[in-house]
Symmetry: C3
Subunit: 399 residues, 3 copies
């Protein structure tokens, strides 16, 4: 628990950051945001967390809706979004496309306007098809912007990307806030080595947005970021370019390797996780789009067979022993494929996973605050002043 | 945005209307409501909208539930109801009959009581079967009235008809409020011509409640209301009688025609929309009730074949050119069947629809406020005083 | 409606009860709670009800989540939990395992933590398999306790058992509060006879937690509790032991009989309800666990055939006439299997059921308050002081 004085120091620090461009804007990809903007998200998230721990209400909305659109099953992100909305005073209304009367051929623009008459926020997860998720989100954001301009909507709902085909900013930023706290401050990250590596999983088609999100964000902090995967498991080259440019600007480094051992060697942080190759995801998107489901099954079979060649890409105790002092921070977005627990052979050895349970849960615990921070920064021109107001009022959350 | 003074003038006007009979009552059909009551719904809706635009909280409930029962898929109405409840401070609890333990043979009375212990409002959409929807709603309303009288329920939940087999009052009233604003005041509607016409759609079995709702309400404003449909596409004759009586009382007119061209000629407003003939809906209800599903398929086939004879009943640019100055206001409850967008041939030509996108969205934007107004009028004996209180308090919605 | 003075007397009475052990604790089974704790739940429930009837807000949470997990369809309990949470200011977030991304093999500990970052309460219904429901709830409770201790969760969510394989405390306590009010006070229950009897139903596999909950709780009030069922329809013997010990301590009695007539004779209260034999439930759990679905069907067939031997175990007018003055209070947790209404032959004759509609609905109406009371007692060290604060503030619920 922090004292009010300590929290005030955090809002003072926030006041020095330029967040003007975030106001009434959307959050798509971390690399579209300035360093000040990224720092502000962390700062607001930490203030909100400290306030909640001190039983100070963070409600800035008396009423209002947060619309959620999950185009795939979800637990963690669903509850994180619900928690963030609740913390700020918004009520979640889920657009469940299965029980909705969305007409065949109804435009995204129409649906977006129809659900947004009283929406302050729209959170979308759409990560399954390459070239689709981000495009969909952009269309929704443009539609409600237009609706607001045309006087259809009373407020401009702000969009929060809860995972698209390109980035997973609420995940990567929760991960980074965990890392910042673990290492005792952002100033301690320079020169730290992180291994973002592919790992074997008995399933196929896991999204690329996690590894892409990690290399796109972690390279901004002067860290040595290593992306490791077997040949053929390439991610989007655009995001690799982002990572390379970030690393250069931040005084860190970004490199690729096809050896998990190389990546783990002396690493301070390891993030072993399965994903499908970009080329496969593209092919999959095409087949689904064209309704060629027989070929889809064939693709899956081929991919699983290919995956099986790399069962040794798994996070073992032996590999962990080669990290910095044998004590690298193990990370995962969860749920993980744990050998001997959730599957016969998977991303990580059970004893490793079990040793890191508490840090893994803490890592996840930042996500609601990251989402709430993104909302606050889009809704308030002077977020530091607004947080100070909440601190002054000091209304108890549990009365 | 309106000034507080302008809003005060609206609550002053509201004060002059007799809404005493609405207090603790339900909203079933517009034609069961007096002119004062109809005017009051519009007035309260406009006040709530103005307050929200001025960031003044409309919360009149500290806690409480709004129960929703959707017996058919729904997006617009679901979000409108959720928005209305949220605006006033109620939390929506949906009775999803698919995941509910409603026993075979359980009475409506029992279910209605079981979900209403803390319910302030119940919103129901049940529009699929002739003779069913309204009956169901009436049974629910009677049951909770009885439950309240018997001391089972602490409050009497008020019922809002979110669309039944007979009327769709939240739609027709949102439509009318759009028309009032479009023409600059209710006093400008006298003598305006509206064409409520059938239009071709590749689907079958669309409910009758929209055309019925429109002729049942719009005839009260001195307008010339024309109902057009091909032979055999009759609506309920009871509602036609209501429309005729309304027209007589208001100094307007109501007539029927079997020509779309006739209806569109010099119209100020056009509302082309598909529906199933009343006789077909009756047959369908019977077949479903008796589980005769083979015959149901047969009925559908026959109807679609019959529909196909009237593909020229579509809202074209040519037809639009024949309206008053070629500029009639095009209306639709959405989603529309748009030729060349959502289907090959449908209710409206794409270029017409696209030209009216913004007005169509505005039309829809009134529904949450209409629903909220119906709730307020049922919950507060002196709604003007309550709204003035909210204006005095001037609590910000976004703090 | 009660006066504020009357409500103050209730909080004064509450102050004398020792509820210290309930603070930050869970509610699993009534027999794990002391007499003071049971009395406190009733007292808080009555205060909350009186406050709501007086339009005094019971909100003690400015924001916060109540997580619900229903592993079976549910209406009554779902709405009761939603009502309780809403009354206190919590928002329900349902963990719907069908649309959640819960990985194969994901631990309960992980899921429990992932959904609890901002959870104040977790309500679980898991009543289908012997030896499962309570175990699951205990694992969830232990997991979040651990998560809180480890700094993963900011607050320790309290668990409310919404029905497990062993007890159904929110049902039995709502039932008892109904009985207390019906007989004009807890002091009038000594010597009253209640017949908790099995009854025939055309369905199979109804949970044991209701009869177990009733005998486990009602024996604490000096009542004569008779458990009646045909041979072979035994409940868990552990709970029978609890009932016997309770009866001894309270100066009442507990006995079993295989005659419905014997149980009904001179009874003040009758609770005729179907359940599956404990031995059958055990076998069923085993078969489901081992995926032996063919044998499961066979088991169902055998059970239904066996049930059919006891169709005369039904609550008739003739049997009712043998109760105390012919006027025993008929109780049921609902929905009931009503002969001639929901089934040909069932638990109760229609005329009996109809005569008791209002008391049955009242019985059910206590459940939201019982749940809210359990939450309050787990969240506030000094619940009487907290309720007095709410009475002092006297914020209107409907403003």
């Amino acid at each position: 628990m922090k004292t009010i004085q300590e929290i005030r120091q955090m809002t003072d620090a926030l006041r020095k950051l330029d967040t003007s461009r975030m106001y009434l804007n959307d959050f798509f990809h971390t690399w579209k945001e300035s360093d000040d903007e990224i720092a502000a998200v962390f700062q607001v998230a930490e203030v909100l967390r400290a306030m909640r721990e001190d039983n100070i209400s963070c409600r800035v909305f008396d009423s209002g809706l947060g619309i959620s659109i999950f185009r795939d099953n979800s637990t963690r992100t669903r509850f994180s979004f619900a928690s963030a909305c609740n913390l700020l005073g918004l009520t979640v209304q889920d657009l469940d496309e299965k029980v909705s009367q969305i007409a065949h051929g109804e435009t995204v623009r129409e649906t977006a306007n129809m659900v947004s008459f009283m929406a302050d926020v729209i959170g979308i997860r759409d990560d399954m098809y390459i070239g689709k998720g981000h495009t969909y989100m952009k269309t929704v954001a443009d539609s409600v912007e237009e609706g607001y301009r045309d006087g259809v909507l009373e407020q401009r709902p702000t969009l929060v990307n809860l995972q698209c085909d390109i980035d997973h900013p609420t995940q990567s930023m929760a991960d980074m806030l965990h890392v910042i706290n673990f290492f005792g401050g952002v100033e301690n990250l320079k020169g730290k080595k992180i291994a973002m590596t592919w790992a074997y999983s008995p399933s196929y088609g896991k999204p690329l947005s996690v590894p892409q999100g990690i290399i796109g964000l972690f390279t901004r902090f002067g860290m040595d970021v290593v992306l490791a995967h077997p040949e053929g498991y390439e991610i989007m080259s655009d995001v690799e370019d982002v990572a390379a440019a970030n690393a250069k600007a931040s005084g860190g480094s970004f490199r690729k390797t096809d050896s998990m051992a190389d990546a783990f060697k002396d690493a301070d942080i390891v993030y072993p996780k399965s994903w499908a190759p970009f080329a496969v995801m593209e092919e999959r998107t095409k087949l689904v789009g064209e309704g060629r489901f027989d070929e889809l099954k064939d693709l899956e079979k081929r991919c699983l067979a290919n995956n099986a060649r790399f069962k040794d890409w798994t996070c073992t105790e032996d590999l962990m022993a080669t990290t910095r002092g044998g004590k690298a921070l193990y990370m995962h977005c969860l749920p993980a494929d744990i050998s001997g627990l959730s599957c016969a052979e998977g991303e990580v050895e059970r004893s490793v996973f079990d040793r890191y349970l508490v840090p893994l849960y803490k890592e996840a615990s930042y996500k609601p605050y990251i989402i709430a921070a993104m909302i606050m920064l889009a809704k308030f021109k002077d977020p530091a002043a607004k947080l100070d107001e909440l601190l002054d009022a000091a209304r108890p959350r549990v009365r």
